[in-house]
Point group: C2
Chain length 224, copies 2
């Protein structure tokens, strides 16, 4: 398994459909709850229903769509409770990743993380929120990769996909002062990782995720 995607998928047309549909759902190009007709998708992609059907089946197992037998297929919308659960998992996995990374010592990912923070500092300084959002995602990705645990990474990607996190990051960072605080928290985590203090790194990382979640929830409240 490579994360949540189908390994050598590019050659198989069902693989292409999977990647495209996943991209659309995660980016929010399709409204949550919207129906996905096999036939319509098949025609749009210029293929038969079969590969589309198999793609949707996989996306269902990944938790991105829901197939109601003989009714239709719909983009899933996480309930408030599920969002809370997903963040609990995010906190768990990223905290563990920080600890594992700290235990590994100085691996290439550390350098990439330091470089990431240098860029992030600059982005925050010039108030470039879009760029900073990208860097935040990269930071978390590097942390997970640095943990060097394929299963952890796979489950993490699945979670983030269900959250459609790429969209949420922006909401979270739109809270005043959040980017600066977020950047500081990243610095602290990386310091503890470099110092090989796994326990503290995990604790601080979890606090960071909690803070990020609260900023997000606040942002969601105000946007509704």
């Amino acid at each position: 398994m490579n994360g949540s995607s189908n390994g050598s998928s590019s050659r198989l047309i069902q693989g292409q459909v999977i990647e495209e549909m996943r991209r659309r759902i995660i980016k929010g190009a399709i409204n949550p709850g919207a129906p996905l007709s096999e036939l319509a998708l098949a025609e749009e992609f210029g293929v038969s229903r079969t590969p589309v059907r198999e793609a949707l089946k996989q996306l269902q197992t990944e938790g991105l769509v829901e197939i109601r037998p003989r009714v239709g297929t719909f983009v899933t919308t996480p309930s408030r409770r599920e969002i809370t659960e997903l963040f609990e998992m995010k906190e768990l996995l990223e905290g563990a990743a920080a600890r594992l990374l700290a235990q590994r010592g100085r691996v290439p990912e550390i350098d990439l993380l330091e470089e990431n923070l240098r860029e992030a500092d600059a982005a925050v300084a010039r108030d470039d929120r879009a760029r900073y959002a990208q860097l935040v995602e990269e930071f978390h990705d590097l942390l997970i990769q640095g943990a060097d645990n394929g299963k952890l990474e796979a489950h993490y990607r699945m979670l983030m996909n269900q959250l459609a996190y790429s969209r949420l990051v922006n909401t979270s960072l739109s809270q005043p002062g959040r980017p600066l605080q977020s950047d500081r928290e990243h610095h602290l985590v990386l310091e503890l990782v470099v110092a090989k203090d796994g326990d503290s790194a995990e604790r601080v990382m979890r606090e960071h995720v909690r803070a990020s979640r609260q900023a997000l929830m606040a942002g969601l409240q105000s946007s509704l």
Copy 2:
């Protein structure tokens, strides 16, 4: 999602195939690495290739089989490294579950866990390893359910399926003295949970999983 199974699957024949195949793989009724022919399975179940095919696709996403395009479908065999990774995740999730359960206070699952330990004590006392193995699985299941986090439970079940844990438990418990120690560790965890000491409960639970893993690895070594 209800764990890793397909919700209302009983009526759809692909759902029946999924459940049956998953059961076989987890129970070890099929040798790891063995090829699974769509046609053969279809004939055995008395259906066409289509539902079998869709079932295998889902099992692939769950990590139980591997579909090599135009070659065949095979039962996956976790590598040594993957087993280590899976146990790292198990430790993580069960530790978190212990902490979450402790935070929830006295919920029904606590009573069930205490009842479970009473039976487990008896099973250990009369050296009934088979019964104790069942109770161990039930203990961990109750812990996860008690955490009251659906996502955590879903990911946990997926992990356990990949490990084919029901088989491994026996190997682990075949180590001399392991059942008694395991039982004691369970008691300690539950005490801390009841005392609402989440941090300690998580720590001890993780130590318990590590110990269980070491017993398993020792058992695997000697059996090879």
